[in-house]
Every structure is written in structure tokens, then in C-alpha cells.
């Protein structure tokens, strides 16, 4: 089974990619501006809510309960979705999900040589790289969310879970639209650019026969699906085509309709700082005379079920993809999303991607954090991201230590040495004396600078106090001697 999380297999490790991002002043200015704006709005809208912490507690409890009974709720969702006229498919991994989608699209477009599908913003389809698979099968996917459209037109990657094109400013968007839409007269005014997107897509909304979406929530009790959005492109894709295909991660299921009262209060305020996003669409199966005539759900695993074993790792699946942790994270705010090498960026990406892929391709991500805890504080479902990051760092180290290269790595030898030295007082004092002598070359005042090798990584960015000439133990000993004399 191959689990895919965007294009992680081709991505550089975080420290390498972050260095490139840090050199891009335009990108950093765009990211800073966008995250500052959303953070400010979020804080305002959360402050309005006297019961915010209680909502978080309930959301966390609902999610934890659902994941513990995930099999039952998925089966209940499947039953009710099909009773309402939908059809449920199951996909173990990215390739299987794409194959099912392509099979359905071919089935419904029989005889048409050139097939287009309209898409509502869905991170899950980015995760399985659905657009790449569709194009390879001769199907043209059209992203209809303004930001996704900007990303698609620029052959770019999303850099944020909620606002995927936040790394682009208005002038970059104008240039992209001028070229792609053949409208050289377009100005860089957001109003003008939005109008251009509206005109460009309206025709496609009315003409294209197949829509593809993700889902924010799948409701077991009713078999209904919910998509949260702002622009109306979601409503268009969910309503106007003859056929609708929704790719839904298995963790998106919630038990009952009434649970929406919790999540619909937490999500918009956390994601965009709005009391409620302009549009929420909820539907069950198919309806005569209204909306698509055929509705298919693809329930996607793609590594998710691996996270269920361990209670701490399981918490990662409680995520409702609001992106609040990205906006709060000092590391994300400096590097932007691309450095994470996965479509899931920021703190949630740093724990989700390595786990989905069993640490393959994303070993550096658990280190892409200062562990400051800001992500935990803003998380609407109270995922303890710092704790999971530390847990994953432990896994990376243990896996490394299991290999010969890892055993012989300087860092491992140093750590093993330190562990041995800390085991006895005699060894510890000997090591201290050795270090006191060894540090002479690097000592500047009471600081150590430019340490060699691996330790240089530490002194390059941080202050490190030199080991004092006399240790506390030595001072205590001499003091005692002086007293008894």
C-alpha cells in the first residue's frame, strides 16, 4: 500500500526547504500579512463566545468517542447515505481512491472524448494528488475556489489549509489571470480579479456535468454530508452538475445531526474569524428535481486507520482542518506552507503527514516546531499537538537507532555518551573536567561560539553559556573544607 500526502516523496526536508523560504521576502511578507489578519479576526470572534472552552471540550469528546467507534459510525453513515439514494465506495489508499473516481467519471461521460469536472476546494483530493491522476486519464479538473484556482493556474502548491494561495499577492494574481484568461486589461484590484473569476467560472458551472468535492462532516445518523464555504463555488459544484463525487476521509464522520451545533460554531470562527461562513451546504443522497441525479461517496483510509492504535496518535484524527494552528505557529509564520513539503502544513501538518506515512518522507517535520504551545491553545478540538510532536521525535530517534548508520551517527554517539556520563557521579565529574578543558578554544567571554560539527547547529542560532571554571560541587567541597578547617 502506498500512502500519499501530496508530493512529499519529492519534497526536500524541512530544514532545507525552510532555508529557501526564509530568503523569499515577498513570500514572507504575504504570509505574515495574511496570518496577522486572520489571527486578529479569530481572536475577536472567539472573545465574543462566553462558552468557547465548553464548546472545545464537547468537540474533543465527540471526536474521541467517534474515533473509538469509527467502524460503527462509518457503517451507519454508509447505510443511511445509500437509503437516501447515494452510493458509498471504500478506498484503502490514494491510488484506489483515484481509480474509483476515474472509473465513475468515465462511466458517466461515456462517449465524450474531452471530459471536464468542476471541483470544490478539498484538501483530501490534494492529498491523493487527484488532479494529477485525472489529467493522466485525460480528464480536466477545474478548481473553482478562487485560491485553488490561483494555485492551479500557477502550477503551484497550496501553502495553507484554508487560504491555499495566501503566499500570492494581488499583483501576482493579476499577472496570472491576465495570461490564463487572456484579459490584459485586468487591474490588481481584488474586486476586479474576483469579478474575472466569476465570469470565467460561471459558464463552466452551468455546462460541466460532473462535480467533485470533499466534505467537512459526514453525518452517520442521516447519511448526510456537509460542506462549509464562502464563495458559492461550493454550492455551484454540489448543486448544478448531474453527478457528484465526494471524497471523504474516514475521520470526517460525526455521529448525529445535532453534533453540527458544536462544529459549526467552532469551525468558522477558528478558520476565518467569521461568526459563520457565508454558505453551508448539507445534503442527503439525491433529490428529485433538485441537484445531482447521482451521488457517490468515496471513503478514504490512506493511512488514517494506522493512527487509531495509539490513543495519543489517534487524537490527530480529531482535526477539523480549520488552519488556526498554522496562523498561530511562529515557525509557519516565518516559512509559509511550502517548506513543510506536504499539503498539510503548519503544526497539524507536522504531526499528520509523518504519521500517515509512517515517518517515511517526512522525518524532519516533527522538528519543525518550537513547542511553544500556541497551536494547542487555538485548536478548536483541543489536539495536544506539542505532546504528539515530542512523541514523534521519540519515534524518529528510536527508528534511527535501529539502523547501523543511525547507531554510528555522531548525534547518537554523543547522546549515548551523555547518557552513560549521567549514570554515575564519577563519570559525570570526569566529563565536566574534560569539557572545561575542551571548551577553551570556543570560549568568548562567558559564551561558547562556533562549536565544531553537529554542536555548531546549536551555537549558530542560540546563546550557550560556557561551563564555569568551578562547578557547584567543587565549590561546595572547597567551602566545606574551609569550614571544617
Amino acid at each position: 500500500m502506498s500512502v500519499r500526502v501530496g508530493k512529499t516523496d519529492r519534497a526536500a526536508a524541512f530544514p532545507v526547504a525552510a532555508k529557501t523560504a526564509l530568503k523569499n521576502d515577498q513570500l514572507r511578507a504575504n504570509v505574515r500579512r495574511a496570518t496577522d489578519t486572520i489571527r486578529g479576526k479569530r481572536a475577536l470572534r472567539v472573545e465574543e463566545m462566553p462558552d468557547w472552552q465548553q464548546l472545545r471540550d464537547t468537540a474533543s469528546a465527540i471526536k474521541a468517542h467517534t474515533l473509538r467507534h469509527l467502524d460503527e459510525y462509518l457503517v451507519e453513515f454508509e447505510k443511511n447515505c445509500e437509503l437516501a439514494g447515494g452510493k458509498v465506495h471504500w478506498a484503502r489508499d490514494a491510488d484506489e481512491a483515484n481509480a474509483i473516481a476515474i472509473g465513475l467519471i468515465r462511466q458517466y461521460s461515456e462517449g465524450n472524448s474531452h471530459v471536464e469536472v468542476i471541483k470544490v476546494k478539498t484538501m483530501t483530493s490534494d492529498e491523493v494528488q487527484m488532479n494529477v491522476a485525472l489529467e493522466a486519464a485525460g480528464i480536466t479538473p477545474i478548481e473553482t475556489d478562487l485560491a485553488d484556482m490561483i494555485v492551479q493556474m500557477g502550477h503551484d502548491e497550496p501553502s495553507h489549509i484554508v487560504v491555499p494561495a495566501l503566499h500570492r499577492n494581488r499583483f501576482e494574481v493579476r499577472d496570472l489571470f491576465r495570461e490564463t484568461m487572456h484579459r490584459p486589461e485586468l487591474t490588481a484590484e481584488p474586486e476586479d480579479l474576483t469579478g474575472a473569476a466569476r465570469a470565467y467560472l460561471r459558464e463552466r458551472f452551468l455546462k460541466v456535468k460532473i462535480g467533485v468535492s470533499g466534505a467537512n462532516f459526514a453525518i452517520a445518523e442521516t447519511g448526510g454530508v456537509c460542506v462549509v464555504e464562502s464563495e458559492g463555488n461550493g454550492r455551484m459544484c454540489l448543486t448544478m452538475p448531474d453527478v457528484l463525487i465526494s471524497l471523504i476521509g474516514v475521520e470526517k464522520v460525526i455521529p448525529r445531526f445535532e453534533d453540527l451545533e458544536v462544529f459549526l460554531q467552532l469551525l468558522p470562527r477558528s478558520a476565518t474569524g467569521e461568526r459563520m461562513n457565508p454558505y453551508n451546504s448539507l445534503w442527503c443522497g439525491v433529490h428529485a428535481g433538485d441537484g445531482p441525479k447521482a451521488f457517490h461517496v468515496i471513503l478514504l483510509d490512506n493511512g488514517r486507520t494506522k493512527l487509531l492504535h495509539d490513543e495519543m496518535e489517534r487524537e490527530t484524527l480529531e482535526c477539523i482542518r480549520c488552519g488556526a494552528c498554522l496562523n498561530a505557529c511562529p515557525v509557519y509564520r516565518e516559512t509559509g506552507g511550502h517548506a513543510y513539503g506536504s499539503i498539510y502544513s503548519g503544526p497539524i501538518g507536522a504531526i499528520l503527514s509523518p504519521q500517515l506515512q509512517s515517518l517515511e518522507h517526512s522525518r524532519s517535520l516533527p522538528y519543525a516546531s518550537t513547542l511553544c504551545g500556541a497551536c494547542y491553545e487555538v485548536c478548536p478540538v483541543k489536539i495536544n499537538i506539542p505532546e504528539i510532536l515530542i512523541h514523534l521525535r521519540g519515534r524518529v530517534v528510536r527508528e534511527d537507532q535501529a539502523t547501523l548508520g543511525g547507531k554510528l551517527a555522531v548525534e547518537n554517539l554523543a547522546m549515548q555518551g551523555a547518557a552513560a556520563a549521567f549514570q554515575s557521579q564519577r563519570r559525570y565529574e570526569a566529563a565536566q573536567r574534560l569539557a572545561q578543558a575542551g571548551q577553551m578554544l570556543f570560549r568568548k567571554g562567558d559564551q561558547l561560539e562556533n562549536l565544531p560539527g553537529m554542536a555548531g547547529g546549536w551555537t549558530k542560532y542560540r546563546d550557550l553559556k560556557a561551563i564555569p571554571k568551578q562547578s557547584f560541587r567543587d565549590w561546595w567541597k572547597s567551602r566545606s573544607k574551609g569550614a571544617s578547617a
Binding site: I62, L201, V250, E261, L264, T272, G291, H309
Partner: protein, 212 residues
């Protein structure tokens, strides 16, 4: 590929089967606010405040007999002359000085050319300025409330609740159908976080508030 369902369910059962259940569904604490705390007047005031904050327009009338006139006023302000309504829309609420197009399963192309749609709704949430449609009868089908540039929605004061939980409880009996919640006109902030009204859905939302 056909056994994917069993494989996935099997993986889940192997992972969580027999694991301790920290909280049963019925034991999940719900300490958040599920009922409103404001009186009627304050609740309506809150709704109006939220609607205006989201660039919606409000037209207030007393009796049902005045609804037609308010719709006319909304049309006049927008410079429009015709409205699209569902077949079930009450005849006595229709504006007398405007052309009325009835949606008798109109084709998409016909809908696309129409400027204004007039509907009723199921409920409204004051705390968030949200109008809820369940797309039955006079509320119109989904496409009808989506393609025109201007949505005029008739809302009874009695349909207004304060909180999201109250609204969802009010409509839970009809939860099997399609439902759309609308908070202001279509909007985006994707370009440099500048909020722009009217991307793909209606650019203009007018709410006619009537009744006790």
C-alpha cells in the same frame, strides 16, 4: 478492490476493538450554551446587527399584507423589475408592481438569465446572522436560490432564534433533505485577505422581516 470495505473496517476493529470507551455518546458533556438568554426584542436587534455586519439589507414590516410592498422596495433599490419564485410561494406576498416568473422546473439556462429570486426560509440565527433554507415549497430548490444575483428572503420574526443549537433543533425533524445556511451574500477574502462580496452566489441579500 471490492474488499476494501472489509479491509478498512477490519483495520479499525483491530486498532480500537476492545479499547476502553472513555465516554459513551450519551455521556458527552454539553456545558455550552444551548438556549438563548436574550428577550425577544434584544434577539431581533442582534439579528439585525449581524445581518448588517454581513452586508445584508433589512426591510421591516408589520403585517403579512405589507410584504409585497417591501419586496417592491427591495427591487426598486436594486433597480430590478422581475422576481423568480417557487410555485408554492404565497400569492398574497407577491409584489404587484413587478413581473413574477414562477419556477416550473425551469432549465439552468433560463435561471441564469434571471436577476432576483424571492423565497421564504425555515429559520434564522441571531447570534451569527444566518438564514436557513431547507428547500421545500416556497423556499425554492437549491439552484433557484443560487444563480440569480439578488436573493430577497422573507423571514417571520417568530422564526428567529438566538443560537445555532436552537436553530438546528428546530429543523432536525426535516434533516433528511437538502439544507443551505446563508450568512450574508457570497464573499471571498482569498486575495490579500480583502473581503469582496459576490463571487459566485448572489451578490446581494435582502431580508424582509415581518410579523409579531
Amino acid at each position: 478492490m471490492s474488499d476494501a470495505r472489509e479491509v478498512i473496517l477490519g483495520r479499525i476493529r483491530a486498532a480500537v476493538g476492545g479499547a476502553p470507551d472513555r465516554v459513551a455518546y450519551d455521556q458527552i458533556g454539553r456545558e455550552y450554551q444551548r438556549k438563548g438568554s436574550l428577550d425577544r426584542e434584544a434577539c431581533l436587534h442582534l439579528l439585525k446587527d449581524r445581518l448588517l455586519d454581513y452586508d445584508s439589507e433589512i426591510l421591516e414590516v408589520g403585517s403579512e399584507a405589507e410584504i409585497g410592498g417591501a419586496v417592491e422596495e427591495a427591487l426598486r433599490r436594486a433597480g430590478e423589475h422581475s422576481v423568480l419564485v417557487a410555485e408554492a410561494f404565497p400569492k398574497n406576498w407577491l409584489p404587484s408592481a413587478a413581473e413574477v416568473v414562477v419556477d416550473a422546473a425551469l432549465a439552468t439556462e433560463q435561471l441564469d438569465g434571471l436577476g432576483t429570486v424571492l423565497t421564504t426560509c425555515e429559520a434564522a440565527v441571531a447570534a451569527t446572522g444566518t438564514i436557513i433554507l431547507v428547500h421545500e415549497g416556497a423556499q425554492g430548490r437549491r439552484a433557484v436560490t443560487l444563480l440569480p444575483d439578488h436573493h430577497i428572503c422573507v423571514l417571520a420574526r417568530q422564526q428567529v432564534v438566538e443560537t445555532v443549537p436552537e436553530a438546528l433543533a428546530a429543523i432536525s425533524s426535516s434533516r433528511r433533505m437538502a439544507m443551505t445556511t446563508i450568512s450574508g451574500p457570497s464573499a471571498t477574502s482569498d486575495i490579500e485577505m480583502t473581503r469582496i462580496r459576490g463571487v459566485h452566489g448572489p451578490r446581494r441579500l435582502s431580508v424582509v422581516l415581518y410579523g409579531e
